[in-house]
Symmetry: C2
Subunit: 301 residues, 2 copies
Amino acid sequence: MKVYVSADLPRDLAGRLSRAVEVVGRDRMGEAEAALCFRITPEELKSMPRLRFLQVITAGLDHLPWEAIPPHVVVAGNAGSNADAVAEFAVAMALGAYKRVIHYDRRMKRGEYGRDVGIPMAVGSKAAVLGLGEIGTRVAKMLATLGLRVYGFSRTRKEGPWVFTSDLLEAMAGARIAVSALPLNKHTRGLVKYQHLAAMDGEGVFVNVGRAEVVERGAVERILRERPGFIFASDVWWSRSDFAKDADIISLPNVVATPWVAGGYGNELVWRRMLEEAVDNLLRWVNGETPRNIARREDYV
Amino acid sequence: MKVYVSADLPRDLAGRLSRAVEVVGRDRMGEAEAALCFRITPEELKSMPRLRFLQVITAGLDHLPWEAIPPHVVVAGNAGSNADAVAEFAVAMALGAYKRVIHYDRRMKRGEYGRDVGIPMAVGSKAAVLGLGEIGTRVAKMLATLGLRVYGFSRTRKEGPWVFTSDLLEAMAGARIAVSALPLNKHTRGLVKYQHLAAMDGEGVFVNVGRAEVVERGAVERILRERPGFIFASDVWWSRSDFAKDADIISLPNVVATPWVAGGYGNELVWRRMLEEAVDNLLRWVNGETPRNIARREDYV
Protein backbone atom coordinates (compact mmCIF):
# COMPACT_ATOMS: atom_id res chain seq x y z
CA MET A 1 0.00 0.00 0.00
CA LYS A 2 1.47 3.35 -1.09
CA VAL A 3 0.43 6.56 0.66
CA TYR A 4 1.20 10.10 -0.46
CA VAL A 5 1.92 12.32 2.53
CA SER A 6 2.06 16.10 2.07
CA ALA A 7 2.33 17.02 5.75
CA ASP A 8 5.35 17.21 8.06
CA LEU A 9 5.00 14.49 10.66
CA PRO A 10 6.94 14.17 13.92
CA ARG A 11 9.54 11.39 13.73
CA ASP A 12 7.61 8.81 15.77
CA LEU A 13 4.39 9.32 13.83
CA ALA A 14 6.26 9.10 10.53
CA GLY A 15 7.78 5.87 11.83
CA ARG A 16 4.43 4.42 12.80
CA LEU A 17 3.11 5.16 9.31
CA SER A 18 6.20 3.76 7.56
CA ARG A 19 5.95 0.46 9.39
CA ALA A 20 2.42 -0.01 8.03
CA VAL A 21 2.59 1.46 4.51
CA GLU A 22 5.03 2.72 1.94
CA VAL A 23 5.13 6.51 2.17
CA VAL A 24 5.71 8.18 -1.18
CA GLY A 25 6.54 11.78 -2.03
CA ARG A 26 5.47 14.05 -4.84
CA ASP A 27 7.73 12.24 -7.33
CA ARG A 28 5.85 8.94 -6.94
CA MET A 29 2.36 10.18 -6.06
CA GLY A 30 1.01 8.52 -9.21
CA GLU A 31 1.33 5.17 -7.41
CA ALA A 32 -0.54 6.29 -4.26
CA GLU A 33 -3.79 4.63 -3.27
CA ALA A 34 -4.25 6.87 -0.24
CA ALA A 35 -3.18 10.39 0.73
CA LEU A 36 -2.70 12.33 3.96
CA CYS A 37 -2.88 16.12 3.67
CA PHE A 38 -4.14 19.43 5.04
CA ARG A 39 -5.33 20.64 1.67
CA ILE A 40 -5.11 19.28 -1.83
CA THR A 41 -5.27 20.83 -5.28
CA PRO A 42 -7.12 19.60 -8.38
CA GLU A 43 -3.67 19.11 -9.97
CA GLU A 44 -2.53 16.81 -7.16
CA LEU A 45 -5.78 14.86 -7.46
CA LYS A 46 -5.25 14.49 -11.21
CA SER A 47 -1.77 13.11 -10.53
CA MET A 48 -3.17 10.28 -8.36
CA PRO A 49 -5.29 8.12 -10.68
CA ARG A 50 -5.13 5.20 -8.24
CA LEU A 51 -6.35 7.24 -5.23
CA ARG A 52 -9.11 5.58 -3.22
CA PHE A 53 -8.84 7.23 0.22
CA LEU A 54 -8.11 10.81 1.26
CA GLN A 55 -7.40 11.55 4.92
CA VAL A 56 -7.57 15.25 5.68
CA ILE A 57 -5.89 16.57 8.85
CA THR A 58 -8.29 19.47 9.40
CA ALA A 59 -11.70 19.08 11.01
CA GLY A 60 -13.50 21.14 8.36
CA LEU A 61 -13.67 19.84 4.79
CA ASP A 62 -15.15 22.91 3.11
CA HIS A 63 -11.79 23.95 1.64
CA LEU A 64 -11.44 20.83 -0.52
CA PRO A 65 -11.89 21.08 -4.31
CA TRP A 66 -14.89 18.76 -4.18
CA GLU A 67 -15.66 18.92 -7.90
CA ALA A 68 -12.21 17.55 -8.60
CA ILE A 69 -12.51 14.62 -6.20
CA PRO A 70 -13.76 11.50 -8.06
CA PRO A 71 -16.96 10.14 -6.42
CA HIS A 72 -15.35 6.76 -5.67
CA VAL A 73 -12.66 8.37 -3.46
CA VAL A 74 -13.55 8.11 0.23
CA VAL A 75 -12.77 11.36 2.10
CA ALA A 76 -12.26 11.39 5.86
CA GLY A 77 -11.95 14.52 8.00
CA ASN A 78 -10.51 14.93 11.47
CA ALA A 79 -13.45 16.21 13.52
CA GLY A 80 -12.90 15.93 17.24
CA SER A 81 -9.12 16.02 17.16
CA ASN A 82 -9.04 19.62 18.34
CA ALA A 83 -12.61 19.84 19.62
CA ASP A 84 -11.50 20.38 23.22
CA ALA A 85 -9.45 23.38 22.14
CA VAL A 86 -12.22 24.95 20.05
CA ALA A 87 -14.93 24.31 22.66
CA GLU A 88 -12.88 25.93 25.44
CA PHE A 89 -12.19 28.89 23.21
CA ALA A 90 -15.87 29.27 22.33
CA VAL A 91 -16.89 29.32 25.99
CA ALA A 92 -14.07 31.76 26.83
CA MET A 93 -15.22 34.04 24.02
CA ALA A 94 -18.89 33.76 24.99
CA LEU A 95 -18.36 34.49 28.69
CA GLY A 96 -15.66 37.12 28.19
CA ALA A 97 -17.97 39.04 25.85
CA TYR A 98 -21.28 38.37 27.61
CA LYS A 99 -20.06 39.29 31.10
CA ARG A 100 -18.63 42.52 29.56
CA VAL A 101 -15.09 41.72 30.75
CA ILE A 102 -13.77 42.62 27.31
CA HIS A 103 -15.87 45.78 27.15
CA TYR A 104 -14.63 47.07 30.49
CA ASP A 105 -11.03 46.01 29.88
CA ARG A 106 -11.00 48.09 26.68
CA ARG A 107 -12.34 51.10 28.60
CA MET A 108 -9.84 50.69 31.44
CA LYS A 109 -6.98 50.54 28.92
CA ARG A 110 -8.14 53.85 27.49
CA GLY A 111 -8.21 55.38 30.96
CA GLU A 112 -12.02 55.48 30.99
CA TYR A 113 -12.70 54.32 34.53
CA GLY A 114 -16.43 55.03 34.70
CA ARG A 115 -19.05 52.30 34.49
CA ASP A 116 -21.54 52.46 31.64
CA VAL A 117 -23.18 49.06 31.04
CA GLY A 118 -24.62 46.53 33.47
CA ILE A 119 -23.31 42.99 33.87
CA PRO A 120 -25.89 40.43 32.72
CA MET A 121 -26.28 37.06 34.43
CA ALA A 122 -25.52 33.81 32.65
CA VAL A 123 -27.13 31.38 35.10
CA GLY A 124 -30.74 30.75 34.15
CA SER A 125 -30.38 32.47 30.77
CA LYS A 126 -31.13 30.79 27.47
CA ALA A 127 -28.24 29.70 25.27
CA ALA A 128 -28.31 28.25 21.76
CA VAL A 129 -25.68 25.92 20.39
CA LEU A 130 -25.74 25.53 16.62
CA GLY A 131 -24.25 22.23 15.51
CA LEU A 132 -24.09 19.26 17.85
CA GLY A 133 -20.93 17.61 16.59
CA GLU A 134 -17.76 17.12 18.63
CA ILE A 135 -17.36 20.84 19.34
CA GLY A 136 -21.01 21.82 19.76
CA THR A 137 -21.66 18.93 22.14
CA ARG A 138 -18.78 20.02 24.35
CA VAL A 139 -19.85 23.67 24.30
CA ALA A 140 -23.45 22.73 25.13
CA LYS A 141 -22.34 20.60 28.08
CA MET A 142 -20.10 23.37 29.42
CA LEU A 143 -22.83 25.99 29.16
CA ALA A 144 -25.35 23.65 30.77
CA THR A 145 -23.04 22.98 33.72
CA LEU A 146 -22.62 26.75 34.11
CA GLY A 147 -26.39 26.93 34.64
CA LEU A 148 -27.61 28.14 31.25
CA ARG A 149 -30.73 26.66 29.66
CA VAL A 150 -29.29 25.28 26.45
CA TYR A 151 -31.13 24.76 23.16
CA GLY A 152 -29.26 22.49 20.78
CA PHE A 153 -29.79 22.95 17.04
CA SER A 154 -28.89 20.34 14.47
CA ARG A 155 -30.36 18.78 11.33
CA THR A 156 -30.60 15.38 12.99
CA ARG A 157 -31.82 14.74 16.52
CA LYS A 158 -29.16 14.25 19.17
CA GLU A 159 -29.78 13.82 22.89
CA GLY A 160 -27.84 15.67 25.56
CA PRO A 161 -28.23 18.30 28.28
CA TRP A 162 -30.16 20.56 25.90
CA VAL A 163 -33.61 21.09 24.43
CA PHE A 164 -33.19 19.68 20.94
CA THR A 165 -34.61 21.54 17.97
CA SER A 166 -34.06 21.49 14.23
CA ASP A 167 -35.77 24.90 14.02
CA LEU A 168 -33.08 27.57 14.05
CA LEU A 169 -35.45 30.35 15.03
CA GLU A 170 -36.74 28.36 17.99
CA ALA A 171 -33.15 27.75 19.13
CA MET A 172 -32.13 31.40 18.90
CA ALA A 173 -35.29 33.24 20.02
CA GLY A 174 -34.54 35.04 23.28
CA ALA A 175 -31.10 33.47 23.59
CA ARG A 176 -28.50 35.54 25.42
CA ILE A 177 -25.61 33.45 24.19
CA ALA A 178 -25.53 31.61 20.84
CA VAL A 179 -22.50 29.64 19.69
CA SER A 180 -22.15 28.38 16.14
CA ALA A 181 -19.96 25.31 15.70
CA LEU A 182 -21.59 24.37 12.40
CA PRO A 183 -19.45 23.03 9.59
CA LEU A 184 -19.67 24.83 6.26
CA ASN A 185 -21.48 22.86 3.62
CA LYS A 186 -24.26 23.44 1.16
CA HIS A 187 -26.88 23.09 3.90
CA THR A 188 -25.30 25.62 6.26
CA ARG A 189 -23.99 28.34 3.93
CA GLY A 190 -25.85 31.57 4.81
CA LEU A 191 -28.08 29.70 7.26
CA VAL A 192 -27.98 32.36 10.00
CA LYS A 193 -29.86 35.41 8.75
CA TYR A 194 -30.93 38.76 10.17
CA GLN A 195 -34.20 37.37 11.54
CA HIS A 196 -32.29 34.85 13.67
CA LEU A 197 -29.87 37.39 15.13
CA ALA A 198 -32.73 39.85 15.69
CA ALA A 199 -34.66 37.20 17.61
CA MET A 200 -31.89 37.00 20.23
CA ASP A 201 -31.87 39.07 23.40
CA GLY A 202 -30.76 42.66 22.81
CA GLU A 203 -27.82 42.19 25.22
CA GLY A 204 -26.99 38.85 23.61
CA VAL A 205 -23.71 37.54 22.22
CA PHE A 206 -23.41 35.55 18.99
CA VAL A 207 -20.18 33.52 18.93
CA ASN A 208 -18.81 31.87 15.81
CA VAL A 209 -16.01 29.29 16.03
CA GLY A 210 -17.14 27.31 12.99
CA ARG A 211 -17.03 28.99 9.61
CA ALA A 212 -17.88 32.61 8.85
CA GLU A 213 -19.90 31.81 5.73
CA VAL A 214 -22.57 30.09 7.86
CA VAL A 215 -23.67 33.60 8.89
CA GLU A 216 -24.82 36.20 6.36
CA ARG A 217 -22.35 39.05 6.46
CA GLY A 218 -24.99 41.68 5.71
CA ALA A 219 -27.13 40.43 8.59
CA VAL A 220 -24.23 40.87 11.00
CA GLU A 221 -23.52 44.39 9.73
CA ARG A 222 -27.16 45.34 10.14
CA ILE A 223 -27.70 43.94 13.64
CA LEU A 224 -24.47 45.52 14.93
CA ARG A 225 -25.51 48.89 13.56
CA GLU A 226 -29.04 48.64 14.94
CA ARG A 227 -28.20 47.26 18.38
CA PRO A 228 -25.15 48.71 20.13
CA GLY A 229 -25.71 46.37 23.09
CA PHE A 230 -25.57 43.23 20.96
CA ILE A 231 -22.15 41.59 20.59
CA PHE A 232 -20.77 39.58 17.68
CA ALA A 233 -17.72 37.57 18.75
CA SER A 234 -15.94 35.58 16.09
CA ASP A 235 -12.76 33.64 15.47
CA VAL A 236 -13.60 33.12 11.79
CA TRP A 237 -14.01 35.67 9.02
CA TRP A 238 -15.52 35.80 5.58
CA SER A 239 -12.12 36.77 4.21
CA ARG A 240 -10.65 33.57 5.66
CA SER A 241 -7.11 34.60 6.68
CA ASP A 242 -7.06 37.97 4.90
CA PHE A 243 -8.52 39.66 7.96
CA ALA A 244 -7.93 43.22 6.76
CA LYS A 245 -10.78 42.69 4.28
CA ASP A 246 -13.16 42.32 7.23
CA ALA A 247 -11.73 45.32 9.08
CA ASP A 248 -15.01 47.25 8.72
CA ILE A 249 -16.72 44.71 10.97
CA ILE A 250 -13.71 43.81 13.15
CA SER A 251 -13.24 47.45 14.15
CA LEU A 252 -16.81 47.96 15.40
CA PRO A 253 -17.08 48.48 19.19
CA ASN A 254 -19.61 45.67 19.64
CA VAL A 255 -17.39 43.10 17.93
CA VAL A 256 -14.93 40.77 19.64
CA ALA A 257 -12.44 39.45 17.10
CA THR A 258 -9.72 36.80 17.11
CA PRO A 259 -7.66 35.66 14.11
CA TRP A 260 -8.75 32.02 13.56
CA VAL A 261 -6.83 30.61 16.50
CA ALA A 262 -9.51 28.67 18.41
CA GLY A 263 -8.26 25.30 17.22
CA GLY A 264 -5.23 25.55 19.48
CA TYR A 265 -3.01 27.84 17.40
CA GLY A 266 0.63 27.42 18.37
CA ASN A 267 -0.17 24.70 20.88
CA GLU A 268 2.12 21.75 20.16
CA LEU A 269 0.04 19.26 22.12
CA VAL A 270 -3.10 20.09 20.13
CA TRP A 271 -1.15 20.02 16.88
CA ARG A 272 0.43 16.70 17.73
CA ARG A 273 -2.95 15.20 18.62
CA MET A 274 -4.44 16.31 15.30
CA LEU A 275 -1.63 14.63 13.33
CA GLU A 276 -1.83 11.53 15.50
CA GLU A 277 -5.58 11.11 15.06
CA ALA A 278 -5.29 11.63 11.31
CA VAL A 279 -2.58 8.97 11.05
CA ASP A 280 -4.62 6.59 13.24
CA ASN A 281 -7.66 7.09 11.04
CA LEU A 282 -5.68 6.51 7.87
CA LEU A 283 -4.34 3.28 9.36
CA ARG A 284 -7.91 2.21 10.11
CA TRP A 285 -8.61 2.35 6.39
CA VAL A 286 -5.31 0.63 5.56
CA ASN A 287 -6.22 -2.20 7.97
CA GLY A 288 -9.65 -2.65 6.45
CA GLU A 289 -11.52 -1.08 9.36
CA THR A 290 -14.08 1.69 8.95
CA PRO A 291 -12.45 5.10 9.33
CA ARG A 292 -14.10 7.81 11.41
CA ASN A 293 -15.43 11.11 10.07
CA ILE A 294 -16.19 9.93 6.53
CA ALA A 295 -17.58 12.93 4.64
CA ARG A 296 -20.97 12.84 2.94
CA ARG A 297 -20.12 13.97 -0.55
CA GLU A 298 -23.67 15.18 -1.05
CA ASP A 299 -23.17 17.78 1.69
CA TYR A 300 -20.59 19.53 -0.48
CA VAL A 301 -21.32 18.86 -4.14
CA MET B 1 -38.20 46.76 67.82
CA LYS B 2 -36.75 49.82 66.09
CA VAL B 3 -34.43 49.45 63.10
CA TYR B 4 -32.36 52.21 61.51
CA VAL B 5 -32.28 51.81 57.73
CA SER B 6 -29.81 53.84 55.69
CA ALA B 7 -30.45 52.13 52.33
CA ASP B 8 -33.12 52.75 49.71
CA LEU B 9 -35.37 49.72 49.58
CA PRO B 10 -37.87 48.83 46.86
CA ARG B 11 -41.45 49.43 48.01
CA ASP B 12 -42.36 45.77 48.67
CA LEU B 13 -39.19 45.10 50.65
CA ALA B 14 -39.72 48.27 52.69
CA GLY B 15 -43.25 47.05 53.34
CA ARG B 16 -42.09 43.61 54.46
CA LEU B 17 -39.69 45.23 56.91
CA SER B 18 -42.27 47.73 58.21
CA ARG B 19 -44.75 45.00 58.99
CA ALA B 20 -42.18 43.33 61.27
CA VAL B 21 -40.33 46.24 62.87
CA GLU B 22 -40.52 49.99 63.29
CA VAL B 23 -38.22 51.56 60.72
CA VAL B 24 -36.58 54.75 61.99
CA GLY B 25 -34.60 57.39 60.13
CA ARG B 26 -31.59 59.45 61.06
CA ASP B 27 -33.64 61.66 63.41
CA ARG B 28 -34.55 58.74 65.67
CA MET B 29 -31.54 56.48 65.24
CA GLY B 30 -30.77 56.83 68.95
CA GLU B 31 -33.64 54.45 69.62
CA ALA B 32 -32.51 51.78 67.13
CA GLU B 33 -31.58 48.31 68.34
CA ALA B 34 -30.66 47.12 64.85
CA ALA B 35 -29.40 48.75 61.67
CA LEU B 36 -29.42 47.92 57.96
CA CYS B 37 -26.76 49.64 55.87
CA PHE B 38 -24.11 49.42 53.15
CA ARG B 39 -21.54 51.28 55.19
CA ILE B 40 -21.57 52.99 58.53
CA THR B 41 -19.50 55.70 60.12
CA PRO B 42 -18.09 55.87 63.67
CA GLU B 43 -20.38 58.90 64.17
CA GLU B 44 -23.47 56.89 63.25
CA LEU B 45 -22.37 54.11 65.58
CA LYS B 46 -21.89 56.61 68.40
CA SER B 47 -25.45 57.85 67.81
CA MET B 48 -26.90 54.37 68.37
CA PRO B 49 -26.15 53.47 72.01
CA ARG B 50 -28.86 50.79 71.99
CA LEU B 51 -27.53 49.02 68.86
CA ARG B 52 -27.22 45.23 69.21
CA PHE B 53 -27.33 44.01 65.60
CA LEU B 54 -25.82 45.40 62.40
CA GLN B 55 -26.89 43.93 59.06
CA VAL B 56 -24.57 44.97 56.24
CA ILE B 57 -25.82 44.67 52.64
CA THR B 58 -22.40 44.02 51.09
CA ALA B 59 -20.71 40.63 51.10
CA GLY B 60 -17.35 42.02 52.27
CA LEU B 61 -17.07 43.56 55.73
CA ASP B 62 -13.56 44.97 55.46
CA HIS B 63 -14.83 48.53 54.93
CA LEU B 64 -16.49 48.74 58.37
CA PRO B 65 -14.92 50.90 61.09
CA TRP B 66 -14.34 47.86 63.29
CA GLU B 67 -12.61 49.74 66.09
CA ALA B 68 -15.76 51.82 66.52
CA ILE B 69 -18.13 48.86 66.69
CA PRO B 70 -18.74 47.83 70.33
CA PRO B 71 -17.83 44.14 70.88
CA HIS B 72 -21.37 43.25 71.99
CA VAL B 73 -22.84 44.31 68.61
CA VAL B 74 -23.44 41.33 66.33
CA VAL B 75 -22.41 42.10 62.75
CA ALA B 76 -23.82 40.12 59.81
CA GLY B 77 -22.62 40.35 56.21
CA ASN B 78 -24.38 39.33 53.01
CA ALA B 79 -22.06 36.70 51.55
CA GLY B 80 -23.72 34.63 48.86
CA SER B 81 -26.31 37.18 47.80
CA ASN B 82 -24.35 38.06 44.66
CA ALA B 83 -22.07 35.03 44.61
CA ASP B 84 -23.51 33.74 41.32
CA ALA B 85 -22.69 37.05 39.66
CA VAL B 86 -19.12 37.23 40.99
CA ALA B 87 -18.39 33.57 40.26
CA GLU B 88 -19.55 33.86 36.64
CA PHE B 89 -17.49 36.98 36.21
CA ALA B 90 -14.41 35.30 37.67
CA VAL B 91 -14.69 32.36 35.26
CA ALA B 92 -15.32 34.73 32.32
CA MET B 93 -12.23 36.72 33.28
CA ALA B 94 -10.11 33.60 33.79
CA LEU B 95 -11.05 31.94 30.49
CA GLY B 96 -11.10 35.15 28.44
CA ALA B 97 -7.57 35.95 29.61
CA TYR B 98 -6.17 32.40 29.68
CA LYS B 99 -7.42 31.41 26.21
CA ARG B 100 -5.90 34.70 24.92
CA VAL B 101 -9.25 35.90 23.56
CA ILE B 102 -8.60 39.31 25.12
CA HIS B 103 -5.02 39.39 23.86
CA TYR B 104 -6.00 38.68 20.27
CA ASP B 105 -9.04 40.94 20.35
CA ARG B 106 -6.80 43.85 21.36
CA ARG B 107 -4.45 43.08 18.48
CA MET B 108 -7.26 42.77 15.93
CA LYS B 109 -8.67 46.12 17.07
CA ARG B 110 -5.28 47.69 16.39
CA GLY B 111 -5.22 46.14 12.92
CA GLU B 112 -2.48 43.69 13.91
CA TYR B 113 -3.76 40.55 12.26
CA GLY B 114 -0.73 38.31 12.75
CA ARG B 115 -0.61 35.56 15.34
CA ASP B 116 2.04 35.80 18.03
CA VAL B 117 1.16 33.63 21.04
CA GLY B 118 -0.16 30.08 21.29
CA ILE B 119 -3.50 29.17 22.82
CA PRO B 120 -3.04 27.10 25.99
CA MET B 121 -5.44 24.32 26.96
CA ALA B 122 -7.59 24.53 30.06
CA VAL B 123 -8.74 20.90 30.24
CA GLY B 124 -6.35 18.86 32.38
CA SER B 125 -4.50 21.94 33.66
CA LYS B 126 -4.13 22.78 37.32
CA ALA B 127 -6.25 25.57 38.77
CA ALA B 128 -6.15 27.09 42.25
CA VAL B 129 -9.13 28.66 43.95
CA LEU B 130 -8.27 30.80 46.97
CA GLY B 131 -11.14 31.04 49.40
CA LEU B 132 -13.86 28.40 49.51
CA GLY B 133 -16.79 30.55 50.57
CA GLU B 134 -19.91 31.11 48.48
CA ILE B 135 -17.98 32.56 45.54
CA GLY B 136 -14.90 30.33 45.65
CA THR B 137 -17.00 27.18 45.91
CA ARG B 138 -18.95 28.15 42.80
CA VAL B 139 -15.80 29.06 40.86
CA ALA B 140 -14.13 25.79 41.85
CA LYS B 141 -17.13 23.74 40.73
CA MET B 142 -17.29 25.56 37.40
CA LEU B 143 -13.59 25.08 36.71
CA ALA B 144 -13.81 21.42 37.72
CA THR B 145 -16.69 20.79 35.34
CA LEU B 146 -14.65 22.45 32.58
CA GLY B 147 -12.03 19.74 33.17
CA LEU B 148 -9.42 21.57 35.21
CA ARG B 149 -7.73 19.90 38.18
CA VAL B 150 -8.73 22.25 40.97
CA TYR B 151 -6.85 22.88 44.20
CA GLY B 152 -8.96 24.59 46.82
CA PHE B 153 -7.22 26.78 49.40
CA SER B 154 -8.81 27.84 52.66
CA ARG B 155 -7.91 28.16 56.33
CA THR B 156 -10.44 25.51 57.31
CA ARG B 157 -11.00 22.23 55.48
CA LYS B 158 -13.94 22.13 53.12
CA GLU B 159 -14.85 19.23 50.86
CA GLY B 160 -15.77 19.62 47.20
CA PRO B 161 -14.54 18.80 43.69
CA TRP B 162 -11.05 20.00 44.56
CA VAL B 163 -7.86 18.90 46.27
CA PHE B 164 -8.06 20.72 49.58
CA THR B 165 -5.00 22.44 50.99
CA SER B 166 -4.36 25.11 53.57
CA ASP B 167 -0.88 25.60 52.10
CA LEU B 168 -1.06 28.49 49.64
CA LEU B 169 2.16 27.54 47.86
CA GLU B 170 0.91 23.99 47.31
CA ALA B 171 -2.32 25.36 45.85
CA MET B 172 -0.59 27.74 43.45
CA ALA B 173 2.50 25.77 42.38
CA GLY B 174 2.21 25.01 38.68
CA ALA B 175 -1.32 26.38 38.45
CA ARG B 176 -2.30 27.83 35.08
CA ILE B 177 -5.35 29.58 36.47
CA ALA B 178 -5.66 30.93 40.02
CA VAL B 179 -8.73 32.77 41.24
CA SER B 180 -8.80 34.68 44.51
CA ALA B 181 -12.20 35.04 46.13
CA LEU B 182 -10.72 35.63 49.57
CA PRO B 183 -12.30 38.20 51.86
CA LEU B 184 -10.03 40.89 53.23
CA ASN B 185 -9.29 40.53 56.89
CA LYS B 186 -6.24 40.49 59.11
CA HIS B 187 -5.40 36.91 58.05
CA THR B 188 -5.55 37.58 54.32
CA ARG B 189 -4.05 41.06 53.94
CA GLY B 190 -0.89 40.70 51.82
CA LEU B 191 -1.23 36.92 51.82
CA VAL B 192 -0.35 36.42 48.14
CA LYS B 193 3.31 37.28 47.69
CA TYR B 194 5.84 37.13 44.87
CA GLN B 195 6.84 33.55 45.67
CA HIS B 196 3.26 32.38 45.14
CA LEU B 197 2.79 34.14 41.80
CA ALA B 198 6.24 32.99 40.67
CA ALA B 199 5.32 29.38 41.47
CA MET B 200 2.50 29.48 38.91
CA ASP B 201 2.93 28.42 35.31
CA GLY B 202 4.67 31.05 33.16
CA GLU B 203 1.59 31.27 30.89
CA GLY B 204 -0.70 31.38 33.90
CA VAL B 205 -3.45 33.81 34.81
CA PHE B 206 -4.06 35.17 38.31
CA VAL B 207 -7.62 36.44 38.72
CA ASN B 208 -8.78 38.56 41.62
CA VAL B 209 -12.49 39.14 42.28
CA GLY B 210 -12.12 39.44 46.06
CA ARG B 211 -10.13 42.33 47.43
CA ALA B 212 -6.96 43.83 45.97
CA GLU B 213 -5.17 44.10 49.30
CA VAL B 214 -5.01 40.30 49.59
CA VAL B 215 -2.26 40.46 46.95
CA GLU B 216 0.98 42.40 47.51
CA ARG B 217 1.04 45.18 44.95
CA GLY B 218 4.82 45.05 44.59
CA ALA B 219 4.69 41.33 43.90
CA VAL B 220 2.26 41.90 41.04
CA GLU B 221 4.41 44.68 39.56
CA ARG B 222 7.47 42.46 39.71
CA ILE B 223 5.95 39.32 38.18
CA LEU B 224 4.34 41.30 35.35
CA ARG B 225 7.67 42.93 34.52
CA GLU B 226 9.59 39.66 34.68
CA ARG B 227 7.11 37.46 32.81
CA PRO B 228 5.41 38.98 29.76
CA GLY B 229 3.44 35.76 29.22
CA PHE B 230 1.90 35.84 32.70
CA ILE B 231 -1.46 37.59 33.02
CA PHE B 232 -2.92 39.45 35.99
CA ALA B 233 -6.67 39.90 35.62
CA SER B 234 -8.47 41.86 38.28
CA ASP B 235 -11.78 43.48 39.06
CA VAL B 236 -10.49 44.99 42.30
CA TRP B 237 -7.75 47.55 42.84
CA TRP B 238 -5.61 48.77 45.69
CA SER B 239 -6.97 52.26 45.11
CA ARG B 240 -10.51 50.92 45.64
CA SER B 241 -12.63 53.06 43.24
CA ASP B 242 -9.97 55.64 42.43
CA PHE B 243 -8.70 53.52 39.54
CA ALA B 244 -6.45 56.21 38.05
CA LYS B 245 -4.10 55.65 40.99
CA ASP B 246 -3.49 52.10 39.74
CA ALA B 247 -3.08 53.17 36.11
CA ASP B 248 0.59 52.10 36.10
CA ILE B 249 -0.51 48.47 36.54
CA ILE B 250 -3.84 48.70 34.66
CA SER B 251 -2.07 49.94 31.54
CA LEU B 252 0.41 47.04 31.32
CA PRO B 253 -0.15 44.74 28.31
CA ASN B 254 -0.32 41.61 30.46
CA VAL B 255 -3.06 43.01 32.67
CA VAL B 256 -6.80 42.54 32.17
CA ALA B 257 -8.69 45.18 34.14
CA THR B 258 -12.32 45.81 35.02
CA PRO B 259 -13.67 48.53 37.33
CA TRP B 260 -15.11 46.58 40.31
CA VAL B 261 -18.23 45.40 38.51
CA ALA B 262 -18.14 41.62 39.09
CA GLY B 263 -20.87 41.73 41.72
CA GLY B 264 -23.47 42.40 39.06
CA TYR B 265 -22.97 46.13 38.51
CA GLY B 266 -26.08 47.72 37.03
CA ASN B 267 -28.02 44.46 37.17
CA GLU B 268 -31.33 45.13 38.88
CA LEU B 269 -32.05 41.48 39.61
CA VAL B 270 -28.73 41.03 41.40
CA TRP B 271 -29.21 44.28 43.27
CA ARG B 272 -32.74 43.34 44.30
CA ARG B 273 -31.57 39.93 45.52
CA MET B 274 -28.85 41.50 47.68
CA LEU B 275 -31.36 43.82 49.38
CA GLU B 276 -33.85 40.99 49.80
CA GLU B 277 -31.35 38.64 51.42
CA ALA B 278 -30.15 41.38 53.76
CA VAL B 279 -33.73 42.14 54.85
CA ASP B 280 -34.44 38.42 55.31
CA ASN B 281 -31.33 38.01 57.44
CA LEU B 282 -32.21 41.01 59.57
CA LEU B 283 -35.67 39.53 60.13
CA ARG B 284 -34.05 36.28 61.24
CA TRP B 285 -32.39 38.19 64.06
CA VAL B 286 -35.60 40.09 64.84
CA ASN B 287 -37.48 36.80 65.08
CA GLY B 288 -34.94 35.30 67.44
CA GLU B 289 -33.43 32.96 64.84
CA THR B 290 -29.70 32.75 64.12
CA PRO B 291 -28.75 35.09 61.27
CA ARG B 292 -26.43 33.91 58.52
CA ASN B 293 -22.97 35.33 57.82
CA ILE B 294 -22.19 36.50 61.35
CA ALA B 295 -18.74 38.08 61.25
CA ARG B 296 -15.93 36.88 63.47
CA ARG B 297 -14.81 40.13 65.10
CA GLU B 298 -11.37 38.63 65.72
CA ASP B 299 -10.82 38.40 61.94
CA TYR B 300 -10.88 42.18 61.72
CA VAL B 301 -9.77 43.70 65.02
